[in-house]
Amino acid sequence: MPTADDRSAAIAAMAVHIGEEAAATLDQLLPRRPWWDYVPAEVLMRYEVAIASEPAARHSLHCALAERIGHDHAGVLLAFLLPVPARVLLAQGVDLSG
């Protein structure tokens, strides 16, 4: 399970490419804990949420990140990103605090 230190290391790796200021914004907007701490399993099983998942886009992002910052850091960043886009969860009325 990725830790806060892993998260910090991944963001530091991103800072090399996007700069400290943008990395600080990424740090602010990236969830503090892995997504499964935020989104209950029953929410993921909802039809509206399941069809909103974009595995191909997520895989593409993972590959693009892995090319720039390495597989380990890319994997950590993906673990901290929500399983479906935040806008989709919010639009579906999903309580992100749950």
Partner: protein, 140 residues
């Protein structure tokens, strides 16, 4: 543009240079629009629930203690009130009994006096009758 949106836009621009538009769009979509510092997690809610339950338990204990104290005080006041009332009733009954006995004694004395007067009256009447009878007999 909103002040909070500017860093987000700058992040988007930097990511776009690094990852391209499509992957950047994907990454930005997975990010929060406002930041995560104020978003409660399940762990936060669990901790909050524990705090709430502890507070409720403490409140329940305090309420029980206050209710017990209040009931004990009320019970004590009721006992004191009943004792006072009982004492006043006893005193009143004793006074009433005393007055009744005094009145009864006076009535008894009056009755005896009246009976004596009546008895003497009757004796006098009989003696007068007897004297009258003797006088009639002598005259005849």
């Amino acid at each position: 543009m909103d002040t909070d949106e500017r860093p987000r836009q700058r992040l988007y621009n930097h990511l776009q240079e690094l990852l391209g538009e499509e992957d950047t769009g994907t990454l930005m979509a997975y990010l929060s629009s406002t930041g995560w510092a104020d978003v409660a997690t399940k762990r936060d809610l669990d901790q909050f629930g524990q705090v709430i339950r502890a507070d409720m338990g403490s409140l329940e204990a305090r309420l029980e203690a206050r209710i017990d104290t209040g009931l004990a005080s009320l019970e004590s006041r009721i006992d004191t009130g009943l004792a006072s009332l009982e004492s006043r009733i006893d005193t009143g009954l004793a006074s009433l009994e005393s007055r009744f006995e005094a009145s009864l004694a006076r009535a008894s004395l009056d009755t005896r006096s009246s009976l004596r007067t009546l008895f003497l009256g009757l004796v006098g009447l009989q003696m007068s009758g007897a004297a009258l009878a003797v006088a009639v007999a002598r005259a005849a």
